[in-house]
Symmetry: C2
Subunit: 325 residues, 2 copies
Amino acid sequence: MERKGNLMTYRPDIKVFDATIRDGGLVNSFRFSDEFVKALYLANLRAGVDYMEFGYLASTDIFKEEDFGDWKFCKEASLRRIMGNNETDMKIAVMADVGRCNLERDLLPKEESVIDMVRIATYIHTMPAAIEMIEYCHSLGYETTCNIMAVSKANTADIEVALEMLCDSSVDVIYLVDSYGSLFPEQIQRLTKLYLEHAEASGKKVGMHAHNNQQLAFANTIEACSMGASYLDATIGSMGRGAGNCAMELLLGFLKNPKYNITPVLKFYEDYILKLREQGEVWGYDIQYLLTGKMNLHPSSAIAFTADKRTDYAEFYHSIFDMEA
Amino acid sequence: MERKGNLMTYRPDIKVFDATIRDGGLVNSFRFSDEFVKALYLANLRAGVDYMEFGYLASTDIFKEEDFGDWKFCKEASLRRIMGNNETDMKIAVMADVGRCNLERDLLPKEESVIDMVRIATYIHTMPAAIEMIEYCHSLGYETTCNIMAVSKANTADIEVALEMLCDSSVDVIYLVDSYGSLFPEQIQRLTKLYLEHAEASGKKVGMHAHNNQQLAFANTIEACSMGASYLDATIGSMGRGAGNCAMELLLGFLKNPKYNITPVLKFYEDYILKLREQGEVWGYDIQYLLTGKMNLHPSSAIAFTADKRTDYAEFYHSIFDMEA
């Protein structure tokens, strides 16, 4: 299989996508201080990051505002409090989960919003609802991605149907998402190739969103990249649900485009990420996440094991054998 | 490039090699309790591990015995205290560094020793001395490997000469060693192919020893494996110098041979590895190791940064720019 690009040059089509607030918000219920979010916005700008995702467009009909920080809802006023009118070339993204938002009420027309891109997260069986949301976002003037979750549990034939549906839609980027951190680089290679075969034929791009259950988030991201994926998700310090994501500092250390600069990310890490850890927030690779990843399971049981401060890994391993695989 | 084997089956030529005491000993100056080492020996036996490495055959002319635990020297009496006559099918290995041992004095003939394999660690410029040691070990009846260190700083033409020298020797296994944790899977793929082209033509095997500076130790190990490397080094909990090694629990979670069993490794991790961490031993992936890996530098400056409990990563990054790359 032919790789695109090599280790000495760079591909200008690559976009670095920071998901620290969105995926990291799953760790602390989106309760980030404004100081944190503003410092991250500036760090991303200085680092040359192409897109920064702020959080979810969750509906207040479904989630109580008092249970979460602002970035669960990403109201226009919250976003502008951080970035004014975002007079920069870094684009702003938010995520919308199928069945958990009210876009008709909550999403402004693009010309009234600092948001540039809406990422539609869907399971494969809710693809028609995702397509409807994608078309609605485009009708308002937004860029979109579709993030098909949990493909490690889907059949290739179903994935192909989903890709065909997306290729007939207005979506800009189709994301390969390793929700359970269960995929190995060889599988990422095959899936990226499959996604690209469909995407390229209809002028769309492919993105990669990895999880670090088996310490493969960075390896899988650069594998997808070298096969031709161009939108690459990362979070500073890997902050994200469970085992976390591809670390921004690893990704920027790898990419050769001189526009990227790792130093602001290192500075943000030492000034802000370390503080979150000191305050007791817990995420990142650990044995329990390796085990749910290996078993291709949702990380919820491993997250509960972590919250309970358990360390009986062997017992945990045997307990998850009984789960629906 | 063709892969050997696939993700559904297993290759019987694969040997899992536990280096926990040897590489982990670089963390605590080899001061492991006998209880720890005996429990590890039993865990490896139960897990189906093929080789267990105990430590170095360091010369007491060069190193003072009071500065280290027993596994710096691996005397026959120390080994037998743990395993008796090792009446098992797990083989026992030790490492001998070029220029740091006195094999004529310290290595018994094979029939008087529980050691099965001597691994000769060498830089590329000391290959003639390594070959002499390999031939001496074979004359005493041992299996051998040659671990060529720091190849990320060597020129391909020199690596090829070294491989030719080894192919003309009695060595059994040639190890690809990513000493600085600086190699990406694409490079591991190319190097494994190069090593195998030489090794296969002369009936030798290829091994992989990875470091986790860029969270790629496991990814690089399975990449080398899928290209045809058959001796795979790992340590429980990644215990090893600096960023540590490929984690045994990740490797056994990946391999499909039913002889391997992850549970004894999980149990050892919870009973013994966690305790070492509680006692203050520090190793494993962290930003400073990512930075020396990215810069293709020996991890010594990152190890000092860790020992000093520093967290000014951005400053550290700029300080290593001046180092010899």
